[in-house]
Symmetry: C2
Subunit: 353 residues, 2 copies
């Protein structure tokens, strides 16, 4: 397993020659120029990432669901009890959650990682990857959510998991998350790195009512106002207001970039992690593709800050990696078009006058 | 093969009891209520169509690409030569077009049907279904595009193809189209049935420039102004300003509704055909799902008139069935969620306070 320093040192931007080749090739394929819309730009980015045109297919994909708990849960930001984090992890392990259903459809492996659940996970946990750094974060309104060392340890877990999945054959990484109250921490991260106000980026998460939302915005404001955050020190901000699963996702995303394996972002958890990761290595974003536009406003704010356009927009707000899994066929299609479509010359099709 | 009268007589609306059961079941699954957004409503409609909850998976899918030529091509509505229709059909038969690439990814069969190409199709046509009603339509600005009998014959081709695909195991029908100048005929159909002006529903098709677009709008206006069209006689309107592939698609869509097999609409060609078909049998729409939002304005106008919300919005404007193929995984996912996800009770997950 590589260290964070090694991962950061090996991240390079996309290859512009391969991108240019892909653009030119798109214009020779048997369709009007631009007729495949956003898929064409995605295909160009895949070629740039691979440094090759056509790029390889992003298949098979693998999902890592990082689970953690949040001290800020004590502030009453959600009506869901904290024990649901572990119960949902048991559901993932049993194959009954939405992420499992969508991963089966997409032929994607699912690995579930305990990076910081507060309580024991019920049931058979033999398939759970136990990398619990600590039993949940501390309440970020009262002090730092975790130490810098804890954040770094969780980042290391993400790197380890990404590298293991790639060794096992994954050619697309999907970031998944589970953690009751984790949209509160995500909102704090997005506010810090996007420069937007907590009111703009804090959302309803599982579907809280107006009063709870107003309280949640206030909680995020208090967490951010507690101390001076310096985004030139991304790990410091992550430790102050992030979650353990966000930290693991930072490592996971960066490891994908370092190995030039496409990462298909999901909702606000991976968006928040992507902001931290791109602050550490701006070129890392060239490996990332926006899976979907989550209902959560912080997710859109993150994508806009990153300059990424989502593939799917179906009003999802579940996390787990579900939105990215729905987007995976479009990512594959973009590569497949470059690999398999005939050109006007080869097919003997006349071009327009 | 059924007659149009038999097909129309057997179309029934969706089953509201199955829809209610699906809605209730969605609320018991291990996710916050509504967290799967648009997929939840799609799952309810699939249950209503099947009259069963959970509904069957819409797999495997099959695409029928109906190809035809258009007399209105003589009016200069596109810079592409008419021979491209047959050349692209040869490309479909050889497996090199975008629809072939996306169908392979989706494990969907592709059948190519000549319902009215003007010239001989080059190359090996052994796999082409030859149902040429006539070698293209007449110029709709000078007289009816085709006779009523020709329109009915082409509708019969669509019914035959849909029924054959269902016999062969298809559980989702995707309508595809090929025909140089066919967005002009589609715009005329959409204007007639949606009540919108030609300027609102006529688009750039393959990507024409401003001057050609203005001319195209004028051509559509002249075709519609040539005679009095009565949308209470949908076949009459279809014969006056439609294409042979649009007519075949009308039969194809209605046959799907009659057999209660979901139809995943593609772009403006299937949208225009759906407007004709729903004028013949309003309940038929309960079997149709909007695959994607095409760039072509007539496509959005058609979906709005039909009350359907697209699954994919990626700026595509290719036709052939490509947008629907990209949406297919989302349609499948909606059914799979109802079939495979665990409930709160079964998974031992606590509900919110």
């Amino acid at each position: 397993v590589s260290t964070l320093e090694e991962v950061l040192a090996s991240i390079r931007p996309g290859d512009s020659a391969a991108a240019a080749e892909a653009r030119e090739w798109q214009d020779r394929l048997t369709k009007p120029r631009g007729a495949l819309g956003q898929l064409e730009e995605v295909s160009v980015r895949l070629a740039a990432l691979a440094g090759d045109c056509p790029p390889p297919l992003p298949e098979p994909a693998a999902v890592a669901v990082f689970a953690g708990d949040h001290g800020v849960h004590a502030q009453g930001v959600t009506p869901w009890p904290q024990e649901v984090t572990g119960q949902m992890v048991a559901n993932f392990l049993a194959g009954g959650a939405a992420v499992n259903v969508l991963a089966r459809q997409a032929d994607a492996a699912v690995v579930v990682v305990d990076v910081g659940i507060a309580a024991p996970v019920p049931g058979d946990t033999s398939a759970l990857l136990d990398r619990r750094v600590r039993p949940g974060t501390d309440d970020m309104t009262l002090g730092a959510a975790m130490t810098r060392d804890d954040a770094l340890a969780a980042i290391g877990v993400g790197i380890e998991v990404a590298q293991r999945l790639i060794e096992d054959g994954a050619r697309c990484l999907i970031p998944g998350d589970m953690g009751i109250a984790n949209t509160t921490a995500a909102a704090a991260l997005v506010a810090a790195f996007s420069g937007r106000s907590p009111a703009e980026v804090t959302g309803r998460g599982t579907g809280i009512d107006d009063a709870t939302l107003a309280h949640k915005v206030d909680v995020v404001e208090r967490a951010l106002g507690r101390t001076t955050l310096d985004i030139a020190d991304p790990i410091g901000v992550l430790a102050a207001v992030g979650g353990l699963e966000h930290a693991a996702l930072v490592g996971y995303l960066l490891a994908g970039s370092a190995r030039r394996v496409p990462v298909l972002l999901d909702g606000v958890a991976s968006g928040a992690a992507a902001l931290v990761a791109s602050a550490l290595a701006p070129a890392a974003v060239d490996a990332w593709f926006a899976g979907h536009r989550s209902v959560e406003p912080g997710a859109s704010a993150a994508l806009q800050t990153l300059g990424l356009t989502p593939l799917v927009d179906l009003g999802l707000r579940l996390g787990e990696g579900t939105g990215a899994l729905l987007a995976l066929p479009s990512l594959s299609a973009a590569a497949r078009i470059l690999r398999e479509m005939a050109t006007f010359d080869a097919a003997g099709v006349s071009e327009k006058a």
